[in-house]
Symmetry: C2
Subunit: 221 residues, 2 copies
Amino acid sequence: MSTRVIELKRSVFESNDERAELLRKELKEKKIFLLNLMSSPGSGKTTTLKATIAALKDKYNIGVMEADIDSDVDAKKIADTGVKAIQLHTGGMCHLDADMTRQGLDALVEGDVDLAILENVGNLVCPAEFDTGASKNAMILSVPEGHDKPLKYPLMFSICDVVLINKIDVAPYFDFDMEKCKEYIHMRNPKAEIIPICAKTGEGVDVFAKWLSDQVDEWKA
Amino acid sequence: MSTRVIELKRSVFESNDERAELLRKELKEKKIFLLNLMSSPGSGKTTTLKATIAALKDKYNIGVMEADIDSDVDAKKIADTGVKAIQLHTGGMCHLDADMTRQGLDALVEGDVDLAILENVGNLVCPAEFDTGASKNAMILSVPEGHDKPLKYPLMFSICDVVLINKIDVAPYFDFDMEKCKEYIHMRNPKAEIIPICAKTGEGVDVFAKWLSDQVDEWKA
């Protein structure tokens, strides 16, 4: 499947929070669930999405927006799974806001998508500051990054509904303390779901797919 | 050794480029070399610095500024090496500019530092957009992040004088193509030095220490 590249325009609206609430309300009315997936560069967002799509593509009409400063390698990988994928180019911007997300959704949603996923720019800082209008926020922290990240990037952890801890297969080769990590995450956000996974082997992806499916069904109810 | 925490103020100056040039000129006159070290969260900046300090601390008076949004875990780790370390808190900002760097240097440099190192906020996007006034820019890409990162974060790779490829000890457990990675980096920046290292075991750190030492000596000459 070929991929389409959208060059995003910078937003001209003053209040991103208002624009985000408006988008969220519209999506709710249209029964479209939007997941905003964030992480550092290289934490495994695209691989996790591929495994999640495999688990859910018979149940939902999935569409994926891959945001990057440059390149379209991710959208191509997602398109290989058979779902609709578009590439968003941010023009150097370090995050997406609600209006940029809307530009992507306008290109992605043509009638039948009910689970839209935004893979945000790889960045633990700026994307946390801009509400995209998503129904839920998810993030990935990978084992090689270290268990101390919730101490250093507090906002990102505090705004996410679910934190996936990826690359648990390589845990034996890193000084990663899973219990400390969970403690630090809950220090920032007591309500965060924490799901350890290995996107490469598929371990734990069923747990995340179940969580996501529950959220989508509740949103559409 | 105890660490000092500096809460940075947002810059009030319009032209960061001018402020950066001014700072660089002043540092040159004072024979202080400033290295700006950047990477994604968890790529191993602090571990690399510790190994580099061990190699160079008899030759230079080293001072380190650890920039983070929150916490002082990194400054404490660096202070354990016996060199001067201060923690800079960015107040949520995703990068440091020249004036914020100057605020840190004012606190760090009291007479005798000739090699100052700024560990920037973990972020492959925004820090690349703001000249800190550093003598040289360095970045770390770690093996678990993947060899495709120069395709996705072009500006960061294009402004760095040296790219360290860290965590080469775990390469057997990841799909990381070193030759492709070097090709992509040189596509962005033909002049970039590329040095594979393992900060944890010390492998390759001597090559980086030699590179850094050459730069400092040339700067002070």
